[in-house]
Each structure stands twice: as C-alpha cells, then as structure tokens.
C-alpha cells in the first residue's frame, strides 16, 4: 500500500515528463523520419505559438481564472498585422496588434477584477468581440495577404534561424525562462499563486488581488497577440477564422501539465511539457499518414482524461488528500 502511494505520488509529480519521453521514444521507433532535423524543427515551430499562449494561460489559471479569448485575439492580431502592412512600416505592423491585444487583455482583466464578473463570462465576451472585430475588418472572413512591400522582411520574424533553431522557438524558450523566473523568484509571481490559492486571504494579507488579476489577463492578451504575429508571419497573411479552439488546446495543455484548474497550484514547466505532448501526438498522426486528423482531438481528449483520472486516483489514495484540507 505504502509503495503504491509513493508510486502515485511519483507519477503525479513527474508523470508528464515520462509521458512525453515515452511518446518521443515511441515516435522515434515507429517513424524513422520523426527524429529528422526537419521534423523536429517543425514540431517546435508549430507548437511555439500554442506554447506562448499556454504560458499566459497558466498564469491566468493559477489565479483561479480562465481566458477563452486568446484564440480570437491571436486571429485579430494576425489580421491587424496584414491590414496594416500596406503602410510599409514593420514597427506599426508589430506594435499596433500587440498594443490592441494587450489592451483587450487589460479590458478583460478590468471587467473581471473591477466589475467582478466571472472570468468565464468576461472572456467569453472578449472572445466573441475579438473574433467579431477580426471578421468585420476582413469583410466577413476573407484572408488578407501581407503587402508585398514588407512581406519578405515580415516573413523573417518567423523564418529566421539561430543555431539552426527557428526564431519563434527561441522566443518561446525565452518567454518560458522569463515566466519561470517570475513564477519562482519574484513577488508578483508568488502573488499569482497566493491569489489563486485563497483570494480572500491574499487580500487580508495585504496583497491586491485585483492588480494581480488585471496583470495576468493583460499579459495573456499580449502573448496572444505575439502568437498571432508569428502566425501572420508564417502564413504571410492575416486570417480571421484561424486559431479556432486555441484557447481550449492551451487549457488542455495546462491541465495535462498538472496545473489545478481551480488555481493556486501548478506551474509553467508542466505546461510546456503538456504543449509538446499534444504536439508530438499530432505529429505522430501526421507521420502515420492513414489516420485522419480527427484522431488528434480524440487522442488529446483521451490523454486529458487519463491525466485527470490519475490525479483523481492519487487523491483518493491519500497522496493528495492534503489538497482538501486548506
């Protein structure tokens, strides 16, 4: 019994790491082309966008909230970049979408913190609004190409390499490291955990939960904008109807990574692994060839089910019983 408990505790703590390693191993054995340079950079590249969004999402979820607007915000960001491209200024193309997305994130935060509206509802509103604006700007959903004048330079944003690793991946790694530092070594980072753990107590202890909440949604807006820019740069166009369901993938990645959806517990490291677990599965389905892409969502769902069952099992076995005590 004792041994079993330890096993569950161990699984709960490091399970996701092993899951990812096992997946990679399986993929490498099954598909010779998996381990090729092209494929690996492809996986990293494709998932850096979801990865960046998931980092922000993790902070949001740690405060006990949720943000449904990130997919729409990313789409809006890509559209804005493309629409602004005829002006010929890279700075405008990058700064305006980022500013708009940040502002909308800020607005979500304000609605949640100041008007005390449930995050699910507030960001559901923002999700509809951002998608709506993106559609309005593109006459109802037509893809807008980036103006040829700046297209080449703008492409570099997603397509330049350092040490043979694409720029978006570096960006993701940089943000991950920054995020980890913030979460572990700065006061603001710890306050995110405190607010999610017990908001009322945090307030009594002299923290300002409102500020923390506004901050996480704002940052999440900014990161969604960034992901949208990478997308626009990769595609060379702004697409108002893309990024559908990114928010759910990000939430799934965060949950798979072991962050409690009720807040207060978890972290970015797990989330990053969660992102790549989903990414590798998707890649394996691609490589396999005959399986339809719909399996991707089914397998992601099953995986999520597996993870939460494991967590629930660990709780039932007492290793996690402490969670209830607080």
């Amino acid at each position: 019994m004792k041994k079993k408990n330890l096993f569950y505790a161990f699984c709960k703590k490091h399970g996701v790491v092993f899951a990812l390693l096992a997946l990679i191993l399986a993929a490498a054995l099954l598909f010779p082309e998996f381990a090729s340079y092209g494929n690996v950079t492809n996986i990293l590249n494709q998932n850096s966008m979801i990865g960046i969004i998931s980092l922000g999402m993790t902070f949001v979820i740690l405060t006990g909230g949720i943000d449904l607007s990130v997919g729409s915000l990313a789409a809006l960001s890509s559209v804005l970049a493309a629409v602004l491209s005829p002006k010929g200024s890279l700075a405008i193309m990058i700064l305006v979408p980022l500013a708009v997305c940040t502002a909308m994130g800020l607005l979500s935060g304000l609605i949640i913190a100041k008007l005390q509206i449930a995050p699910f509802i507030a960001t559901l509103g923002m999700m509809m609004a951002a998608r709506g604006i993106a559609l309005v700007m593109t006459d109802g959903g037509v893809s807008v190409s980036v103006d040829t004048g700046v297209a080449e330079t703008f492409r570099l944003f997603a397509r330049s390499y350092l040490l043979r690793v694409p720029a978006p991946v570096w960006l993701f790694v940089l943000l991950l490291v920054t995020g980890l530092y913030i979460a572990r070594r700065t006061r603001s980072g710890r306050y995110v955990y405190a607010v999610g753990g017990n908001e009322e107590a945090a307030r009594m202890m002299g923290l300002q939960p409102e500020k923390i909440k506004i901050a996480v949604y704002t940052v999440n807006g900014l990161l969604a904008g960034l992901a949208g820019l990478i997308l626009a740069s990769r595609l060379g166009a702004g697409q108002p109807v893309t990024c559908d369901g990114w928010e759910m993938t990000a939430i799934a990645a965060t949950a798979i990574g072991g962050t409690l959806l009720s807040g207060g517990r978890g972290g970015l490291g797990g989330t990053a692994i969660g992102v790549f677990i989903i990414g590798v599965i998707s890649n394996m389905i691609n490589l396999q060839g005959s399986l339809s892409s719909w399996w991707q969502s089914i397998i992601t769902g099953l995986l999520l089910l597996f993870v939460v069952m494991l967590q629930s099992h660990a709780r039932a076995n007492g290793t996690g019983s402490t969670e209830i005590a607080g």
């Binding site: 530092y181 070594r185 006061r187 710890r190 955990y193 017990n198 107590a201 009594m204 969670e323 607080g326």
Partner: protein, 508 residues
Amino acid sequence: MEAMYLLEMRQIDKQFPGVHALDHVNFRVRAGEIHALMGENGAGKSTLMKILTGLYRKDTGEIILDGQQVSFNSPLEAQRAGISTIYQEINLIPYLSIAENIHLGREPMNRTGIDWKQVNQRAERILREMGVEADVTQPLCSYGTAVQQMVAIARAISVQAKLIVMDEPTSSLDEKEVEILFRQMRKLREKGIAIIFISHRLDEVFEICDTVTILKDGKLVSESPAAELSKLELVSRMIGRDATDVLRRKNGVYQGTGGVPVLEAHGITDKEKLRGVSLRIRQGEIVGLAGLLGAGRTELAKVIFGDNPDYTGTLAVNGQEVRWKAPRDAIAKGFAYCSEDRKAEGIFPHMSVRENMTMAILPRIARRGLVNVGRQKDIVDRYIKSLSIKTPGQEQLIRNLSGGNQQKVLLARWLCMEPRLIILDEPTRGIDIGAKAEIEALIQDIAGQGISVLLISSELEELVRNCHRVIVIRDGKNIGELESDMLSEGNIMRTIAQDILQEGGACI
C-alpha cells in the same frame, strides 16, 4: 504607560443600510497593553476593527496612530503603518509553504529575486521560538488547523508591528496552544507592542488582558482596567441585563427509562483521530461530549451520522447494529446533525428560509418527487412560530438573517423530521448571548419531548448547564464520564488534566 495613547479612535461613526453599526464610538489603546474588546455579536467590534485595518471606511470620526491622523484604504496600508491582524478564520494560502505564508508580502529579496534561503531560515527561527514543530518548506495545507493558526500568529508577530489585532485567535486552539500564544503575547507586551484581543472566552480575557472596552449595539459602554471588573459585571454590561439569569443551571438529573439505548457506539476507530471511543445515549437524554480541540469530537459525530463510512467498531440503534454508507442512511433512522460550521456545512445562502428548513424532510412531503408545497408551508410556519425565528417571512433568503436565527432555521430543519437523536455540534458558536440562551432553552425542550441530544461544545459552562451526563474524550479515547453531582466545570477540566498527567505525554 502614561496618558499617552498609541491608538485613538475618536467619534467613529458608521452606517450600513438599515443599521447604525457604530454610533460615535471612542476607543483608545496604550502602547504595551493587551486590550480586550468585548461585546455581543452585532455590538460593532468587528466593524470597528475593519475600519481600523482599512477593510471598511468610516463615515465620520478620526483615527490617530502614534500622534498622527491616519486613514487606511486597504489592509496593506494598515500593515505598512504597523498594524497587523490575526483573523478568526484562518486566512492563509493553503498550497504555499509555511515559510512563504509567514513572509508573503514582505519577502526578503536578494539580487536575483526572492531569497528563499532566508525566507525558510527566518520562518524556522520564529516557529522554533514559539515551540511549534513543523517543516516550513511544506505546503501549509499538509498541517492541521492548530498549526495553521500558529502560522497565522507567527506571521502577525514577525512583522515589526506596533499594534496587533487578534480577532478570536484562540477559537481553534487547544489549551496548550493557547498557553503558547499567551506567552508570545506577554513577550510582545514587554516590547511595548499593543494588542487588541477579541475573544468570547471570558476566562482568557481575565487571564491576559489589562484593559477591557465593552461595546453594545454600536455604542461604547465602558472602558476599564480588567482588574476592576468582575466576570459577572462584564457579562451584564455586554448583554445589558442581570447576568445571573443567564448563567443558571437548567437541567436536572436524567429521569428517563433505563431501556435500550437509542444509540450505542462501541470502539469507534477511524483512520485519523478516533481510537476506540464508545458512548451510549438513552431516550430523551442530553449527553455532552467534552474534550480539547482535536480530541475527535466532531469526527465522532460524523461517524455517528454516517458522514465518514471509513471506520471500525459498531454502532447500534435501539439495540440493532447498523452500518451507514452516507448521512441519508442515518437520517432514515431518525438521526440529525447540526454542523459546527454553519456557513460551510449548514445553510444554502441564496435559498429561502422555507427551502432551507425543508431540505432534509423533502422526501416525506413529496409524492413521486412532487413537493407538496402546502404541507411544506405549514411546517415552516409552525417552526418559525415555535422557535420564534425572526424573519420577515418564509421567502426571506437565509443569508439575510442573523447568525442566531440561521441556527434556529437549521435546528428546525432537523426538528421537523421528528428525529430520535439530534447531534448538536457547537450550536451556539458565533451567536450572541441572547440567542444563546434561547437555543439552550430549546435543547431542554427537545429533550423533554423525548428526543436524545448529543451536545458538543468547547464551552464547559454550556455543557454543565445543559447536560445530564458528559463524556470526556481525548485523543479519540474515552477518559471519563461525569454525571449529576460530579458534573462541574472543574471536574471536567480535572479529568482532562489528570489524564495528561498520568500519561505524561504531550498534547499535540
């Protein structure tokens, strides 16, 4: 200790819709004194303290701290000015480590961010001084309530505070822990720090406090040195009537039949606290359950009520052995349980008095799942009258009632089931003295109707006043049973103390 006051709150006035919560109250505290703030619920104590610590805003009046006029807009500002607060309910973050909880908001920093080494070392030192053994790097929630409360206290005294507000800090501590707390308080007093102490336990107030300020209905009644005040005087000032009336012992000796006990529990052992505890209740008998916090009182109640099916030992109802899977099995056999935690386990806040009161009896007043509203209303009407519940009507939301009236609704929820046995877990906690007396009278009345009562209370007076027989437990084991003439506060305490002496073991 001259006329120099550390804190002066002058002419503080606060109106809430419909209530004049504070009516030009003056309150002053000297440096280096422990100052008790007393009053019934609703007297304005917590409103006054919330104004002081920046949670509420005052309407008029001024606050002078250390000779300077101040006004705080948030607990943070109050903290920065040197006022730190310990709340009655533990207000800490469950998943963060003990060390972090102590330091949250003022973590020591070094060049690369939070200095974790120092955070942990400091926390360890503070707790060691307080005599608390705990691994400070572990999440707070892996420890029990008592340790958590000590952490809250450690947090409050680790700041360089001038003034510490303690709002019922002892309500979840056992005697030994209260002693540790008092020792710390005396140390702080020597350092010249002022403490505002709020407690409903009169003994504690007289043991530790220098000055007592009494509020009633939002008005200042008196401020006087504790030494010049008698217990009886204090009570009568708080409730504004003859105190002897309240303290009278109500029960007599159990006069029921000696038949088969309504409930017989034998050798109940669970996975955590209970180690073979036994008890027996006869029809119409009021049995008290005494013991320090953590002795397993509530745990036993939960086993008896079927809320914890994971136990060994036997339960017998009217001589027949039973085994519950869930509370509803116990309810079906005529058991009832009023939880100690009204808010978390009792009321449905946004539902009406009617809905709250009939939640348990619904299956009986429904046919094929269809609720007979007429009968429902009759029942509610009857109990509002018979328990004199003060509510504008059946449809009033329960959260708009006072604590005492909420408790009566919960009692009615069970009484309308016409139970065989009712377990009352701290039925008078957080209720003002007037309502307390009413509820105690009700307990006598219930027993008079032949319903058995298991009364759990931390207030020994309450047990002595109401019970036919008191069972004393410690560490999940029976250590004594007191009846008729032997039943007194002193004897209960001696039973507990003797047992500690005999075993020579520590209490935590």
